[in-house]
């Protein structure tokens, strides 16, 4: 608190000797300054890169503080599937993690998984607004559909989800083997959505059991999230036999407890997650399985860990080769003629295009081919006038709006992104657009931005702006997976979760890039007592006292995580 100047008019008023009678707050040293610090919330690369829009830095920070329920609440804002994503997401958050350049990236997915699992069966209550009176149909109970349903429900709407299969979950259910995503995890997370009041009608195939037009007529809006349903054809001579089976079909059969219908020595074609999943599942089903991929390991689109685990499990991958002809004797497949490839110029995806090497054909023994070279959509359930305006997908903007009113689309059917997290994000964004339009409100301008990033005014924090003096170079903690020998005989989950101790230790390694956790460095190092701690304001920990700040910049220099920028004084 600044005081008034003390002015002596007479020597009689002055003290006996030069003894102070007040403090220096009279002296407004803020006038010395030509630059000044601003506390800003910068953009952490993890949150920035999360396709689901999760507030990664916040839930990790809360986990580090042991505030696990709060961490769960942060996740619950953007995803109903933390336990699932913590297992199956390729975690671009970790790829971008600044920690990767000082130690290793934070094991974010294991943290998310722990938090998701911890509250899966006893989820804390979430506040919801009153019922809006609106009812939305969602086609497809995959991650996009259920994410959209979940968000719409959270916003106070009624939702009915139409699912063609006998169990909900879409690709999560039928496309991902149990050893990666145990059914009780998925069941639990879907149960929470159902418990919230979302209606899921299984065995309801739109276009067969109910017409699309009827949904359009009956519901206030329809969100189409049917995902990828069909495999791309192999494109080799003789690929039309029933011994050439789509990978997603094999996975569907296995996941729904049916016979896989695959021979003893299957050849899996492809380098994506479906290829890995199907190959490893067939290994567990006792098959002599191998994989063939037309480029090199470097170009494989599958999650790195999946590739590593497949190789660990002893499955051979033939690189730089592709089938050209299925060889059958007496109607039974005996092998596949393949041609060797070399890498040419980069294609649209940026990967180098494989080019066949003439005359390099050879034969791989196999009695069955499983194709996993990409998936595509099946839009035949749509009425003709709508179908006419589609291509391989349903064109939609990032908020799921299509050319048709009331009709929204998202997930793989719209963008073909092919990941659970992208689908969750799409579903969530579409929910915002649907809810706003049903309320007759304008869609917020930044609706497509992840909620946690909307108020962040800064830039994506580069590694160079992390002050490493405040961090130890500690290794990443990684739970030990199941031993190879027992695991390849069962569908038990391969990867294990964190212990609570490891969870905290790992979360504490987080830089919290651009996110002020009130570490007090700016407060401590201010020579001018001009960084003031704010009490009782959850959004703001410090203010700069501009009456006294001399603009030295120590606070910004010593901020461990780039939460302070120096700006010129106007």
């Amino acid at each position: 608190m600044a005081q008034k100047p003390i002015i002596y008019k007479s020597w009689r008023e002055m003290p006996l000797m030069t003894a102070s009678m007040g403090d220096t707050t009279i002296n407004k040293t803020g006038s010395w300054r030509n630059v000044e610090p601003h506390h800003v919330e910068q953009v952490p690369p993890c949150s920035f890169r999360c396709p689901a829009g999760n507030d990664v830095v916040s839930f990790v920070t809360l986990a580090a503080e042991g505030r696990l329920e709060d961490a769960w609440r942060v996740l619950a804002q953007t995803t109903p599937f933390p336990g699932t994503c913590g297992r199956v997401c390729p975690h671009p958050c970790e790829t971008e993690c600044n920690r990767a350049q000082f130690g290793e990236a934070i094991n974010i997915h294991s943290i998310e998984r722990y938090i998701g699992d911890l509250f899966r069966d006893n989820p804390p209550e979430l506040k919801r607004p009153p019922y809006t009176g609106k009812h939305i149909a969602v086609i497809g109970s995959g991650p996009a559909g259920l994410s959209c349903a979940y968000q719409l429900k959270m916003m106070g709407n009624a939702v009915t989800v139409f699912e063609a299969h006998s169990k909900p979950g879409g690709m999560l259910r039928v496309g991902i083997p149990d050893y990666r995503l145990p059914p009780d995890v998925l069941d639990g997370e879907i149960r929470r959505i159902v418990d919230m009041g979302v209606e899921i009608l299984t065995d309801h195939r739109v276009g067969v059991d109910v017409s699309f037009q009827k949904l359009m007529d009956k519901f206030d809006a329809v969100f189409v999230a049917v995902g990828f349903t069909n495999s791309r054809p192999l494109g080799a001579e003789g690929d039309d036999g029933d011994d050439v089976i789509p990978g997603i079909e094999v996975l569907r059969r296995i996941n729904l407890g049916m016979k896989d219908g695959v021979g003893d020595k299957p050849l899996v074609v492809g380098g994506g997650n479906t290829a890995m999943d199907v190959a490893r599942s067939l290994l567990r089903n006792g098959r002599d399985v191998s994989v063939i991929y037309r480029r090199t390991r470097h170009e494989m689109p599958a999650i790195t860990e999946e590739i590593e685990e497949l190789i660990e499990e002893g499955i051979e991958i033939t690189f730089l080769a592709t089938p050209v002809e299925v060889i059958r004797e007496n109607g039974r497949m005996t092998g596949v003629k393949c041609i060797r490839m070399k890498l040419g110029e980069p294609d649209d995806s940026g990967r180098r295009r494989p080019v066949p090497i003439e005359g390099s054909e050879y034969i791989i023994k196999a009695d069955c081919v499983v194709t996993a070279i990409g998936e595509t959509t099946d839009l035949t359930f749509l009425p003709d006038e709508i179908l006419a305006k589609t291509s391989w997908n349903i064109p939609a903007d990032e908020l799921g709006r299509t050319l048709f009113s009331k009709m929204y689309a998202g997930g793989d059917v719209a963008d073909g992104a092919g990941t659970v997290t992208a689908a969750i994000g799409y579903g969530r964004r579409a929910a915002i657009a649907i809810d706003a339009s049903l309320r007759g409100e304008a869609i917020p301008e930044n609706a497509a931005v992840s909620p946690s990033l909307r108020d962040r005014t800064g830039y994506v924090v580069p590694f160079e702006e992390i002050n490493l003096a405040y961090f130890e170079e500690l290794p990443r903690l990684e739970p030990v997976p199941l031993e190879i020998e027992p695991r390849i005989k069962t569908y038990d989950e391969v990867r294990q979760g964190f212990s609570e101790e490891d969870l905290t230790r790992e979360a504490r390694r987080c830089f919290s890039c651009g996110t002020c956790p009130a570490c007090d460095n700016c407060f401590i190092f201010c020579p001018d007592v001009a960084v003031i701690k704010v009490k009782d304001d959850p959004d703001k920990f410090y203010i700069v006292d501009t009456e006294y700040c001399k603009g030295c910049g120590l606070c910004a220099a010593e901020c461990p995580r780039s939460c302070i920028v120096m700006k010129s004084v106007r």
Binding site: W11, M14, P15, L16, M17, T18, A19, S20, M21
Partner: protein, 386 residues
Amino acid sequence: MQKVLTGNEAAAWGAMCAQAQVISAYPITPQTTIIEELANLVANGMLDARFIKVESEHSAMAGCIGAQAAGARTFTATSSQGLALMHELLHWAALGRLPVVMADVNRAMAPGWSIWTDQNDSLAQRDTGWLHYYCESNQEVLDTVIQSYKVAETVDLPVMLVLDAFFLSHTYEAVHIPSQDETAKYLPPYKPSIYLDVKDPHAFGGIVQQDVYMEFRYKMQVAMNEALEVAEKADDDFREMFGRGYGLIEPYRLDDADYVLVTSGTVASTARVTVDDLREKGHSVGMLKIRMLRPFPFEKVRQILSGRKRVAVLDRNICVGMGGIFTQEIRNAMYHIPEDKRPSIYGYIVGLGGRDVSPEVIASIAEDVQKRAVADGEQVWIGLKE
């Protein structure tokens, strides 16, 4: 209680009577026996004080400053080179308005080394803002220590009391010593108005800008002006309580004297005897002893010397290039009185470096001043080997 004490011991016992709480001192001949006696008094429990045995006089004064600033009554003693080394901090104590009391045993400045008395050491500190007493006897030393605290603590300025090396410092006399309780009735405990106190924090001695520095100096001048009255009263009160007093100046056989010898310190004692002798021989001679040099008792000196024929000032000091320092002080005091009342003032340099100022020397000055034609401002060096 009465004891036979040296002047130095009397100074130490004075501090004991006054119950000095912190002593901070460093040995130098001829002051050493003051601090030895104090060390004994502290060691045997007669004085409840902290004795900081510092490594220099500079620190001795810094020690007094620190302890006094913390609210304790302090005492120190020094001499000559030691006093000179303190110089910076003498200003500090005075401007800091700390009522430190210090005994200075007058000793000539080096080089070459002299341990014998003259006043140049103390007079070199004349302008530091301290009060200065010059003592004549061991009893006066003890009594002046006690009075010094009374005056210093009233006006918040430090006091230096001066005694001659050996003539007082190492000479025994019978001295009356009041008890601490008796002294306490005269001198209440030290209670500064502002000091280092965590419950009422102030910062002392911060930067002062041009707009207020002069005022602090002026306040010292006001305090010094007050100090004349305060010292007078302190002496009167002391006389009332203990039956002894000295005045700020002391006229001796001056009532009808045409010629006045102005003295200070032990020279006054010798002059007393000499005046008696000269009176018997018919000379119209008296003596004025200056006990307090700062603040200078202007009015009193004027009054006493007004209308005399001639004044001989005995200076056991020399301001080289100017003359005796007491002479200058007296001349300055007498300038503004009417011309017909203004005596001629003659300066005599005597006894530098401990040379004896005997009755014969003083008598020769008394005779010289009566004969000398004009007071031309020239200093007369007595006993100089021509």
